[in-house]
């Protein structure tokens, strides 16, 4: 695929997001210098973005486009954008199907925070509790598992993101995810590991 094709793909995603009507997506807000309940105790300044969407399959594409635009604005690499996109897509579908049981009136909140070395995402819903950590990894070596052709979304989420934490708070599902970004993330993690004595 050529660079022109990729750029056209991105432009198409941007148009997809731009074309959304307010009543389809709900409010989109931009915040800075804030942290959210449920996040790790990291008080450094970061740009924060929020979006709330109807819990419907047709909303997931625009959600991915929204997160992609934020990532692009913050200079994320193509592979980092793709990891966040596929994870967000699969999480959105899981919430719609398993937490809400396809309730068309339900809504999903998504918060994205950009720090110099990582992107943090928080998915919020009021559906049934669903702890993905309790679901075992599929055994892809088993031909019956492959033939069944279902249940691979969680594995994609786990492998695409660097940290995942779930908790249930006052009837709300909170799924917190981290994607480490860029060379600085790698350098920083090595410095921290050195300080802790994890690397000789």
């Amino acid at each position: 695929m050529s660079t022109d094709d990729r750029n056209e793909g991105k432009a198409m995603r941007h148009r997809e997001f731009d074309a959304l009507e307010e009543d389809q997506v709900g409010s989109v807000t931009f915040r800075q210098e804030s942290t959210y309940e449920g996040e790790s105790a990291d008080h450094r300044t970061g740009a924060c973005y929020e979006i709330e969407i109807p819990a419907r399959i047709e909303s997931i594409g625009p959600l991915c486009a929204f997160l992609n635009m934020i990532g692009e604005c913050h200079g994320l690499r193509e592979s980092e954008l793709q990891s966040i996109e596929i994870a967000a897509y699969e999480i959105g579908l899981n919430i719609i199907e398993h937490a809400y049981g396809f309730d068309p009136n339900a809504r999903i909140g998504v918060r994205m925070k950009m720090l110099p070395e990582r992107a943090q995402l928080l998915f919020l819903d009021q559906g049934r509790a669903f702890d993905m950590e309790s679901i075992p990894e599929p055994d892809m070596a088993d031909p019956h598992v492959r033939r069944r052709g279902r249940g691979f979304g969680l594995q994609i989420i786990r492998k695409s993101m660097d940290q995942i934490r779930y908790r249930r708070v006052a009837g709300q599902n909170q799924l917190y995810l981290v994607k480490l970004i860029g060379n600085r993330a790698h350098a920083r993690s090595r410095v921290l590991a050195l300080q802790k004595g994890d690397i000789a």
Partner: protein, 125 residues
């Protein structure tokens, strides 16, 4: 024959009659909205007795787990019938997702139709 959703186009052809080899070419985002259309195209080709498929993914920009599930299921089904599936020109981003799921070793991936045809006709797909 071409079918499409808002974000995905699917073109299906028979590129060889005896034994039949079906070609599915996908373009765009293969997400949940595209699933029924892709399944219908696969079923249409299967109903003619085709057990050998090429799936061209060169122009696919995104694939979700359900789409991968359809392909994995098709591979297993056709392999058990003596046929098979060869994926053509798989973009790096899509290969990465196959890799994340540890399924690359179960898939045949080639960059041109001729070598794909050889595999399908050799019975080693």
């Amino acid at each position: 024959m071409t079918q499409s959703t808002a974000s995905l186009q699917i073109r299906s052809d028979t590129i060889q009659e005896n034994p039949p080899i079906s070609l599915l070419k996908l373009e765009g985002r293969f997400d949940a909205e595209g699933l029924p259309v892709v399944l219908a195209e696969i079923e249409k080709s299967r109903s003619t007795g085709s057990i050998r498929f090429m799936v061209d993914l060169e122009e696919v920009t995104f694939i979700g787990s359900a789409g991968i599930g359809i392909f994995l299921s098709l591979v297993e089904e056709l392999n058990s019938e003596g046929g098979g599936v060869v994926f053509l020109s798989v973009p790096e981003a899509i290969q990465r997702i196959f890799d994340v799921l540890n399924v690359l070793e179960f898939l045949q991936i080639r960059n041109d139709q001729e070598s794909a045809r050889e595999i399908l006709l050799s019975g080693n797909a």
